[in-house]
């Protein structure tokens, strides 16, 4: 049996595209598997819950009870892919907790595969956070997200060595378009007849990248 994936989308910085990525990935998994559960750990940023209310639950990692509610659910090998949209304010607490409770070891034991999608920025806080993650997460499970809209082709040299997921920048008018709460990526693919539009290709490119990520995960596990 392939391991149950948990995608942890994170950054210590606000406004780098975590929720956008969580939306894309959530919709991709929903399209491919028919079901997915997402956890929104955001209090201060645009919320995944607002975009995908049907598959998203809120979670909290500040208190112990909240940690139990989240972690005791995601550690289950139930075949249900999970996406965590981890707000920047919860970054340190979350990874301190995962280190303390031995999350990665337990995940291996239970056939669960955490994949950390670290959304890069070019500042010192991101650099330090990336270094911390490198100490904690095996390189095969740590993916740098190079969001062109944020990084503008200047990914830090220290982040160039790992696995990288590139997200191309969209023109501002399209960015505004997809930021609407009612917008659905899969819905757009289904409704837009013209597959040559920039947005159509952008969504498909990202969905292919997710599929590629999944395949690598399966190959690693086999």
């Amino acid at each position: 049996m392939p391991a149950t994936p948990i995608y942890i989308i994170c950054s210590p910085r606000p406004q780098v595209g975590k929720t956008l990525l969580a939306r894309l990935l959530g919709e991709f998994l929903l399209l491919k598997n028919g079901r997915v559960t997402a956890f929104d750990i955001n209090f201060k940023e645009p919320s995944l819950l607002d975009y995908l209310p049907g598959i998203t639950e809120t979670a909290d990692v500040i208190g112990t009870y909240g940690k139990m509610q989240l972690m005791d659910r995601i550690i289950l090998d139930d075949g249900l892919s999970k996406v965590i949209d981890l707000g920047f304010h919860a970054f340190d607490e979350f990874f301190k907790m995962t280190e303390e409770i031995g999350f990665l070891k337990e995940a291996v034991r239970r056939n669960v595969a955490p994949i950390v999608l670290f959304v890069a920025d070019t500042d010192r806080v991101s650099s330090r956070a990336h270094e911390m993650l490198r100490q904690q997460i095996p390189s095969s499970h740590l993916i740098i997200v190079d969001n062109e809209f944020v990084v503008r082709g200047e990914l830090l040299p220290s982040m160039l060595h790992g696995r990288i997921l590139r997200i191309a920048a969209l023109p501002t008018f399209l960015k505004t378009y997809i930021d609407r709460l009612t917008f659905s990526f899969t819905g757009y693919l289904r409704q837009e007849q013209d597959s040559s539009t920039e947005l159509h290709q952008w969504i498909r490119r990202n969905y292919y990248a997710f599929r590629d990520l999944e395949l690598k995960l399966i190959l690693q596990g086999s």
């Binding site: 112990t64 009870y65 139990m68 972690m71 907790m97 409770i101 031995g102 337990e106």
Partner: protein, 252 residues
Amino acid sequence: MAAKPAVIVVGADKGGVGKTTVSRTLLDYFSANNVPTRSFDTESPRGTLKRFHPDITEIVDMTVTADQMKIFDTLNAVSPSVTVIDVRAGLLSRALASLRDIGFLDAAKGGQITFAVFHILGPSIASLDEIAETANFMSGAKYFLVKNFINDTPFFQWDQATYNSYFNRIKDATDLTIPKLNEMAYEQVEVASVPFLKFVANKGPHDEAANYSFVLRGYVRHWLANVWSEFDRIKLTDIVGSAKPSVRSSEK
């Protein structure tokens, strides 16, 4: 096996400083290191330690001669080489005075018995004031000042003069630090009434599979590892005369 019997007294005169918690970590530590151990719980008549380690714990009243005999007259006769005594609040000074009176402290000084005292300290002046009194009984004993972080207060480390007046005054005492355990994790183990080791292994009192929170088990495992690293630091298995195995049974 130990060459000679070892007695570890865990106590404090002040209550609520975590004596039984430390006793439990010791019993788990010896269990994981395959050191045969028995323990006595002086919370007579109900007992707290016995609730967690019923198979190896006996409840005694240390103020009663018959129970003192039960503990000390059997040191050489029984097979477990290590005896842990969890002395209830308010009884440490009296217990040590009794040990002096029956000649036990002299036997320790003479090297016939290994004797160690884990004096559990809370972050209050009342607790730290006990050190001077207890230290009077410590010749011939290994004396450990156990800073038990039951909350986030720093044991006066922000005031070096006060700190030194307590912790650096007793020449042969060794400091130990017990970090704070997550409150919910602590309470969950309380409810489960099992040794910390069983909780970490997700087992019930009779080794049956349990369903404790993975998060709380993780916190307990992390905390217990930190506590045990302190026991490793003071070479506790060497002190009680047992060669430490290269791999603990819990780590296999």
